[in-house]
Symmetry: C2
Subunit: 188 residues, 2 copies
Amino acid sequence: MSPSRSYHHGDLRRALIRAAVETIGEVGAAAMSVREVARRAGVSHTAATYHFGDKAGLLTAVATEGYRLLGDALAAAHEEHRSFLEVGVAYVRFAADHRAHFEVMFQPALYHSDDRALQDARRATAALLYRTADADEDQVVAGVAAWSLVHGLATLWLNGNLPPLLGDDPQAIARRVAAHLRPRAPRR
Amino acid sequence: MSPSRSYHHGDLRRALIRAAVETIGEVGAAAMSVREVARRAGVSHTAATYHFGDKAGLLTAVATEGYRLLGDALAAAHEEHRSFLEVGVAYVRFAADHRAHFEVMFQPALYHSDDRALQDARRATAALLYRTADADEDQVVAGVAAWSLVHGLATLWLNGNLPPLLGDDPQAIARRVAAHLRPRAPRR
DNA sequence: AACATTATCTTGCCGGTGGCAAGATTGCAC
DNA sequence: GTGCAATCTTGCCACCGGCAAGATAATGTT
């Protein structure tokens, strides 16, 4: 169960990602240092470099995990409510519950955006947002509009650019705001 | 007119902001270093510290300038077209034309968000987005929806998260996407 | 005109950071 | 149990941000 204390540590890779997420949650992605992350995992900083190549590699792993988690959350919301709006709400909730992941995911300059695993995870999640299966361009535009709305709302909320008047519950705000999207041929 | 070559440099402050914007445009806000910016201005790095206090102070100046420029752009668009949609388009255009400013503005962790001049500029610009003069909460929500949409679109476009299918002209995309906002009591 | 004061910029220094090279330790294959 | 590969550490380097002290130049005072 817990191979924490041992010889070669067990699975440092996962522990480092955990520590990185934790650190980013406290000091922000820009201020995160590999050395600090390694310190939290009780390990030398070059151990991290060994597993991830470099700092950007570590952040690539964080972003990849983020896209997978987001995909899971969106799929679950869709499964449970069969509501496009609730998928949007789930998006905002994800941003609020996983600030660190979210922050990294949308700063591609911080990681290796050409990484294979990352691209796969990103593509899979994007497919959930604008159902790209049907090639109808108008539907893609509608999907982009929906994604833009919830993404913009999430980021503005995260960095405190929303008027305090609206309260501090991101999900409630999301429902009110998303209602301003013109409903358009929901399923095909 | 150009006091560029002289004794104490003339107006280093403006030159440093220029250099910072230029550097950020090339390497991103996170990778910008005060030393590099100072180098481009032909000056020691502590000269920058003298004018801005610290690195965050320099970025505060960049963000402040950004909010002012954005406010001007939005006001001009409103003045010219009297169209709410065109204000949104202007927002996206600003993000595309001033990537560096935009990138800094919406990463408050990078600068001193409690700075007076910054708050003033930010407040003034925000007032243009959801006309906060009328206290009607529903109108504020409508404004937040509009801002969220264009802000999300701008950021997604900036970091390459839009489907290539839509082309590469941010303004054209903005017009199509913004059309999905439910039109709501435009003027008071 | 001489001097003091202030604003502006430089040099020198410090701890911290990311990355590399070399080496130590440990698990595994056979 | 011996060789081999994986994993981690130590030692090093250049760069970074920030501080203290000092140099230089503009301005004000008389």
